[in-house]
């Protein structure tokens, strides 16, 4: 496969490991802000390759995991409307709400019509094929998936597919990173930055880390050599007391990013304050559908009142997504909470920190 094998060379991995070991850094925390990185790091056993004193912590980079459980309850309530077909990325189906017996999977058992789709365009096709039903697409994800939702919505507008709507759970990553840095609850010395979000935002989308926080960040690819190379660059910056943002993933990420994708998002969505599991309410961190497209906004169409009250539960996903604890430190991990019977979203999502830690638990 193009590019993939090029960045898995074992000699390169060995050299980079040694180089990281030779750096003069003590007790540093590097946060990865992308669920795909979390999984790639676990799969390649990268945490075990690093010397003591370089800690990798997972951040709020899994969209399913940062969606509050109250929002899952809102979706499941909507799903029980007999006129509605809920269309969603498969990741969402098993995510529990505020109780273990609330999920789209459980709603489906009670008769709700829920279809997993690969793309927002598949959801639009289902709407076209079912003109007498209402089709709601659950729009979830960061800057990489929001353009796909925006495109489907623009297409529905153009083709007057009036039985199609989107329930937007979309979020943007910059306010969450700022919130983490400003709360100072977690010590973060550098960021392994999300390669595919950066394809859309460009390197320029992360320069605020350098200009405003003087903290090192490297936009990274997802192969072992990419990740180790990026970690070396971050740790070296920390050792030298620098705080620059660099781009390791140059085969896909430009400085400017993908403006066509950003324009689509801007056309359809506007920022709104939004709740993140673990991080709470963050200003301008969510995406709401603009008034122009409000007849395709499920919140407006079905008069959904979003629950803004967050309950306390024994599940520690909130602490996991902000890097405060390792999944294994949650009292439910591997006991009440396992992939087959998850309590929290971090154990459900294929990109969740708990799912990654559970799947690769025997490597440690």
């Amino acid at each position: 496969m193009l590019a993939k094998d090029l960045f898995r060379n074992k000699d390169d991995v060995k050299t980079l490991r040694k180089a990281i070991e030779s750096l003069d850094v003590k007790d540093i925390n590097i946060m990865e802000v992308c669920g795909t990185h979390t999984m790639a790091i676990a799969e390649a056993g990268i945490k075990q390759m690093l010397p003591k004193g370089i800690n990798l912590i997972s951040g709020p980079g899994c969209p399913v995991c940062v969606t509050p459980s109250e929002r899952i309850d809102d979706i499941c309530n909507l799903a029980m409307n007999k006129d509605i077909i809920i269309t969603t990325y498969g990741d969402m189906i098993r995510v529990p709400g505020t109780r273990k017996d609330i999920s789209l999977e459980k709603s489906r058992m009670m008769g709700a019509d829920i279809k997993a789709v690969y793309s927002s365009m598949d959801a639009l096709d289902i709407a076209i094929d079912n003109p007498d039903r209402e089709v709601v697409f659950l729009g979830i994800g960061f800057e990489t998936t929001a353009p796909a939702a925006a495109s489907a919505l623009m297409e529905a507008y153009k083709r007057k597919v009036d039985n199609f709507s989107i329930f937007s759970l979309h979020k943007v990553i910059e306010p969450a990173i700022r919130s983490l840095l400003e709360s100072k609850e977690v010590k973060i010395d550098g960021f392994l930055l999300p390669g595919h979000v950066a394809v859309i935002l460009g390197q320029k989308g992360f320069m605020f880390l350098q200009y405003e926080y003087a903290i090192p960040g490297v936009i990274s690819g997802f192969e072992p050599v990419d990740i180790l190379n990026s970690l070396f660059l971050i740790a070296k910056e920390i050792a030298e007391g620098r705080g620059e943002v660099k781009n390791e993933y140059t085969r896909l990420v430009s400085f400017e990013g993908n403006s066509a994708a950003r324009d689509a998002v801007y056309e359809v969505f506007k920022p709104r304050d939004d709740i993140w599991r673990g991080l709470g309410m963050i200003k301008n961190s969510g995406l709401k559908i603009r008034e122009k497209y409000s007849r395709f906004d499920a919140e407006v169409k079905f008069k959904i009142k979003l629950t803004d009250e967050i309950k306390n539960t024994p599940c520690k996903c909130g602490d996991v997504v902000k890097g405060l604890i390792d999944p294994s430190n949650c009292p439910l991990f591997g006991k009440e909470c396992v992939p087959d019977s998850p309590v929290g979203p971090c154990m459900v999502s294929s990109e969740g920190s708990c799912a990654a830690a559970y799947k690769y638990r025997n490597m440690i």
């Binding site: 669920g35 990741d91 690969y118 927002s120 365009m121 495109s151 070396f232 896909l252 689509a264 294929s350």
Partner: protein, 81 residues
């Protein structure tokens, strides 16, 4: 899964729709966000949408940049003893 990004090769194009394949498996994708997409191009696909082209040249240049770091590391490691 929504966040999984995969490189696919475009085999046919019809306006904003395209068919792309990997290992013989074909998939309908959208190319709204790709300028001048052509049959034969590799694209990274996220949730059914191509988000960027991936060229062999860019992959090679990226690898060279990584190798520069790796080579510098070799000298660096030796120097540190």
């Amino acid at each position: 899964m929504m966040c999984l990004a995969v490189p696919l090769k475009i085999v046919s194009i019809n306006e904003k729709n395209a068919v792309a394949e990997m290992d013989g498996i074909k998939r309908n994708i959208r190319i709204d966000f790709i300028k001048n997409a052509e049959v034969g191009d590799y694209v990274i696909v996220h949730a059914g949408f191509a988000i960027e082209k991936l060229t062999r040249k860019m992959a090679q240049e990226n690898l060279e940049a990584v190798r520069e770091v790796v080579n510098a590391c070799k000298g660096f490691v030796q120097k540190q003893g």
